[in-house]
Symmetry: C2
Amino acid sequence: MDVKKRKRLEAAGWTVGDAAAFLKLSPEESALVEMRLALSRTLRERRQAAGLTQTALAKQLGSSQSRVAKLEGGDASVSLELLIRALLSVGASRKDVAHALARRVA
Amino acid sequence: MDVKKRKRLEAAGWTVGDAAAFLKLSPEESALVEMRLALSRTLRERRQAAGLTQTALAKQLGSSQSRVAKLEGGDASVSLELLIRALLSVGASRKDVAHALARRVA
DNA sequence: GCGACATATGTCAAGACGGACATATGTCAC
DNA sequence: GTGACATATGTCCGTCTTGACATATGTCGC
């Protein structure tokens, strides 16, 4: 978005910014949200690259299709822990997980 | 340990190897354990470098001294999630966390 | 010895997270 | 349209994680 348009919107009473700014998240909270997002995107990509359905991955993981959908969808009810387990179960190494974690998402 | 000694021990009925091998952990389980260990060590180092006591860090984190001790001690009752939150609260960035996660621990 | 402080360990009630299931939506080929 | 398949969303209930607290151990200086 260019500066001019933003100014116009702000003048009209809109707030412009990303989700973190909008929700007034602390830096730590933002980092957590970004990590979740980065991991869930990586998970979806790796799963698809492996030619697996959510159901198939769920089975490997010992979980259910619905939970995998939530993992990939960034649902608030899933922990970093499960995201990481899922990545490992699609063949990611510790290093791969680290990379995914730091991956740019904005 | 040199090979000769290992052979001797194994001949005597001992099993030689690291914790993962001993407990027969799957690669994914090992990776998780290593991540926990790597993060907890990094947490302790960063906390001490920051000149914080466990009690002080607990306060920042909104937790308790005993839980911080467990975090740093690699207690099985703590999640990766909390470990990461703790690291963020001692000033680590997303990238720092990623580094810590991949850090060698063996 | 004895306080003062930092850290470790154990327990527990309350809340968060998990798998399972039902159901909804979407997209194909036929 | 309909059947088959992949994914999304919502709820339930048992289990795991949590903060709080008590208590133990360790280490200083005095």
